[in-house]
């Protein structure tokens, strides 16, 4: 079984997950993102790296934010971007995922940016492209089910590196709904590859996947213990539909037990940073005083996100 995202020359063919992604490739992406972050400061923010390339944003699941950042990244690289929200078009008419892919391939697509509710859907597309000899088309996973959201994981690594420089001395805590989080999985795999000294997950048992410790993390159920001495706090979003039911009794109780407050943050290192993939639920997983406080790097994450996505796209399909 060959990792489908690496081609036979060891180069990145698709970006599907951070799991098993070689450290050199991660580092190369992070290094490549740095100059793109500077482009954003210029008056003319456009580069000609992907002029004439067609990028299809295939969103089978709604997401304005992620789609927008991919769109901006592609446009800054001078690519043509076509946005498709498929829950409102083909899928409703009964077209299969692979039929959609075939049709768009026939329109000379160079890249698919895929968001799908099923874990593994981008793999299906990548394998289908390989089986039909269309190796010139690249797939970027923009979030599949609970599985992976690699560009988010990578932009988080960029953010950590920006503020902390070295990964190997860090203790990082991920707080919240790890069970349903593709972001958490992508963060964990990227951090283990980059050699983060200690990765902690903090959540009640109902929000942790079975055998999560096998991913190389330390499990904490008590947030005060889990936050003690950490360098980085990565908050996860709690979906509305999961705030009340068999997983959690109420958003109030969740905030009481796991919400990030200034008092709790004080247990972390004095220079700790607080991250969140957005959109935030203020007063549920994070206190506004923390979200707007001096430790928060949540808005820089968004800015870096565009640079990292530019780096990924240009690496996959750029002229060079």
């Amino acid at each position: 079984m060959r990792n489908p995202q690496i081609n036979r020359h060891g180069k990145l063919q698709h970006l599907l997950t951070t799991e098993g992604l070689p450290r050199e490739i991660i580092t190369t992406i992070l290094d490549a993102a740095a100059p793109f972050a500077e482009v954003a400061e210029r008056e003319v923010k456009k580069l000609p790296l992907m002029r004439g390339k067609s990028i299809f944003n295939l969103f089978f699941e709604n997401s304005t934010r992620t789609r927008t950042t991919f769109e901006i990244a592609a446009k800054r690289l001078s690519a043509d971007v076509i946005n498709l929200n498929i829950n409102t078009s083909s899928a409703a008419k009964g077209e299969t995922l692979l039929d959609t892919v075939d049709n768009l391939s026939a329109m000379q697509a160079d890249m698919f940016v895929v968001r799908h509710a099923s874990s593994g859907a981008p793999y299906l597309i990548a394998e289908h492209l390989a089986a039909t000899g269309r190796d010139h088309i690249h797939v970027v996973n923009a979030g599949d089910g609970r599985h992976a959201h690699p560009t988010q994981g990578l932009l988080d690594m960029y953010t950590i590196r920006h503020y902390k420089r070295d990964f190997t001395s860090l203790t990082v805590a991920i707080v919240g709904d790890v069970l349903h989080s593709r972001v958490a999985r992508s963060q964990i795999h990227a951090m283990t590859t980059l050699g983060v000294a200690e990765i902690r997950v903090i959540a009640p048992q109902t929000l942790l996947p079975t055998n999560v410790e096998r991913m190389g993390v330390r499990v904490f159920h008590n947030i005060d213990e889990g936050l003690r001495g950490v360098d980085v706090v990565m908050m996860l979003r709690l979906q509305n539909e999961r705030m009340q039911g068999a997983l959690l009794p109420s958003p109030q109780e969740y905030f009481k037990s796991y919400g990030l407050t200034p008092e709790r943050l004080a247990l972390a290192k004095p220079d700790a940073i607080v991250m969140h993939p957005g959109p935030m639920n203020r007063g549920v997983e994070i206190d506004s005083a923390v979200a707007d406080g001096t430790h928060a790097v949540i808005l820089p994450q968004v800015t870096f996100g565009i640079a990292v996505r530019m780096a990924v796209m240009s690496m996959l399909a750029g002229g060079a």
């Binding site: 079984m1 299969t96 874990s119 999985r185 996947p209 055998n211």
Partner: protein
């Protein structure tokens, strides 16, 4: 027709025979093993040099997809697959569309399957109407129509009172009850074993407890009702332990395992391979190892193909949307041989699990080469390579995690009631 099968190695687990011998058949019945009966004159012969001659395989679960799912498979295609796999008797679960809950449907199936080159079909009737778990079926009528047991295929009876009544009613008539233990709540939306692989891939898990809790319920009710229970397709070490303990406590439960579960585990999902989406799910390595040992020591009574042909469209979708199941009729023999070789089991012991042992569970006269029994015979070359491909598989279902691999052991000829049902044209 009088057939002389010569130069083969006869492996007949029912009679504990493993020796070079010729087999003589007259009018669909075995008339001699070893020595030619007096006055026997063959008008047909089969040279089995280098081959093993064993009873035709008895498969406890093969979906033929008729009625209702003819776009996935037809009786013709799957019977060709059975013959090519050396399977001469098979039980089919009731999850057709409509389910096998009416005598007319069962009679129709039996009638359609009545061709000489077709394996003997033993339908498992639905325990409840439409498999809905509410009303009992007319079990006595269904039995008369040909059902050998009653079950729910992969659907559970949610209401335990209905389950109790169904088992009481079946016990009244002495009908065996076949159940696949899985709690529908714990398995809800689940697509893979709730373990490290599902956690890593972000797939919704089915915990082992989904199986053991349902199993505990069934075993308790078997004790209450005295129903003869057969547990189908167990997938975990814990379940096996519970069944062994139940037997010690006097509950005569039997069980089987699907052949895929002897070789694969959760890790074989790889990068979301929809062919590895099975029901029950592939579990941990330790479960697989326990199942392999359990089948070897006899605590698991039989291995079945759990043959489930699925059309390409239902597999070329994301893992969690894929239809569970794998084609199996043609893989049952080579995968059983592979297991036997890896476990260093003598062939006569290994083949018992696909011949006389499942025949006993079905309560049928089959799975032996005794003189006087029906000439249901499988002749296979244990050394021949069998490339598993879309072209070599006769089944309409090409869905198997073994696609593209090569297995060892290939059927040369299959006889059903002395009729040549399959003649392997391979080199």
């Amino acid at each position: 027709m009088r057939i002389h099968i010569s130069n083969g190695r006869v492996v007949d687990p029912a009679n504990d025979i493993d020796r070079n011998a010729d087999v003589f058949i007259a009018d669909g019945v075995i008339v001699g093993v070893g020595k030619m009966p007096a006055g026997f004159e063959a008008n047909g012969s089969l040279d089995a040099t280098g081959c093993i001659v064993c009873p035709g395989l008895v498969d406890l679960s093969a979906r033929l997809r008729e009625p209702g799912y003819e776009y996935r498979a037809t009786l013709e295609s799957e019977m060709a697959a059975a013959a090519a796999g050396g399977v001469t008797s098979l039980a089919c679960p009731p999850d057709t569309d409509p389910p096998l809950d009416e005598p007319g449907l069962v009679e129709m199936l039996k009638h359609r399957a009545r061709l000489p080159e077709f394996a003997h079909v033993y339908p498992v009737g639905a325990l409840t109407e439409k498999l809905a778990g509410i009303n009992l079926t007319e079990m006595a009528e269904l039995a008369e129509a040909g059902c050998v047991a009653f079950g729910q295929a992969n659907t559970a009876i949610v209401d335990t009172q209905v389950l109790l009544r169904a088992m009481q009613y079946a016990a009244t008539f002495g009908f065996p009850v076949w159940m696949q233990p899985q709690d529908p709540f714990l398995a809800k939306l689940g697509v893979a074993h709730d373990g490290e692989v599902a956690s890593r891939l972000g797939l919704t898990g089915i915990p082992v407890a989904a199986e053991t809790i349902a199993l505990a319920t069934i075993l308790q009710l078997a004790r209450e009702t005295g129903a003869r229970v057969h547990l189908t397709r167990i997938s975990s070490a814990d379940s096996l332990e519970m069944i062994v303990a139940a037997r010690r406590a006097g509950i005569p439960a039997t069980c089987d395992v699907a052949v895929h579960h002897l070789h694969l585990c959760e890790h074989d999902i790889g990068y979301f391979d929809p062919h590895a989406r099975l029901d029950p799910p592939l579990r941990a390595q330790s479960d697989r190892d326990a199942l392999r040992r359990g089948l070897a020591d006899g605590s698991i009574n039989a291995v079945c193909s759990d043959h489930t042909p699925v059309d390409d469209d239902a597999k070329q979708v994301p893992f969690d949307e894929a239809e569970p199941g794998a084609t199996g009729l043609e893989l049952l023999l080579p995968l059983t041989l592979k297991w036997a070789k890896e476990m260093k089991l003598p062939l006569v012991k290994a083949l018992a699990r696909v011949t006389c042992d499942p025949a006993r569970i079905l309560g049928i006269e089959a799975g032996s080469l005794s003189v006087g029994s029906a000439a249901d015979i499988c002749v296979f070359d244990p050394q021949a390579a069998f490339p598993i491909s879309r072209e070599t598989l006769k089944s309409q279902g090409k869905n198997t995690p073994f696609l593209g691999l090569e297995l060892q052991g290939r059927v040369r000829s299959t006889l059903i009631d002395g009729h040549l049902a399959y003649d392997g044209a391979w080199g």
